[in-house]
Symmetry: C2
Subunit: 180 residues, 2 copies
Amino acid sequence: MLSGAVRVFNERGYDGTSMEDLSRELGITKSAIYHHVVGKEELLRLGVDRALDGLFAVMEEVKAAEGTALHRLELLVHNSVLLLIDELPFVTLLLRVRGNTKIERKALARRREFDSLVTEMVEQARDEGHLRADVVPAITARLLFGMVNSVVEWYRPRRGDDPQDLADIIVAVAFDGLRC
Amino acid sequence: MLSGAVRVFNERGYDGTSMEDLSRELGITKSAIYHHVVGKEELLRLGVDRALDGLFAVMEEVKAAEGTALHRLELLVHNSVLLLIDELPFVTLLLRVRGNTKIERKALARRREFDSLVTEMVEQARDEGHLRADVVPAITARLLFGMVNSVVEWYRPRRGDDPQDLADIIVAVAFDGLRC
């Protein structure tokens, strides 16, 4: 039911989706939905939390990795792309949250917390001398995840595609650039 | 009125905004709004067209520039960042369009047309030997503009900030990478 609700939210927009819409699109009665959740707000919360929990799990795993901060930052970008592809509808929902309700504002606060952890990692990699000295950590963190997150706008899984390939491309572009 | 309507659309979401909301937020009567436009759809169309016309004007100007395709591509990224900052609310509105109405689908079609012009430019720069040989033009075009477009999510103009600085940073990251 959660996956179905998240699909409907992504198609119609969360604000534009009523319980009637959910009932019709999921082919279950409203009372059956209310049996599981108190309303569409709870479905939103479960959906964005799934994406956020995934991102924080990637962050924890990466922070525990050996090596330089640059290595951890590359791993973070790589594994975030894999998570995004794996949880595509949930991350899509998260990235469209604008902050009109308490649940949305809480999700935005967790996103900012994630961003500040990325910013710290960029700062550390720069201080270790592995990133250009003119790098501004907060802007760099946002540009890195701007590129990563943009994948939700166009990525559609196709048979035979290996998500690792896209993760590798994004790491290469971000750290080595396009020029040859 | 257009700027005000676009601000309300960006805050509440286009689908979640009624003519009543526009009337209240803009402090003008509904009939005064209807005197100028046939409905909120026309305000959406005027808003997204302003962003799209700006992007295509940048594209035309850049295509006419002398030099290599790589030079034109760098100029395109640079000037697109400046346009995005200059027309921030309009580009924000455009980037949130999902295709639920005819006007939105037309805007998405123009965005795809723009993307394919970027893809052609990436292909040409690669064929001229100035981009890494492993670059996939369509993916690269999307990642480049993924990074550019992500600016709408966090950029807030501050006194003394020079938009040129951000445009320069984004060109440097995209083409030379973060590593030193």
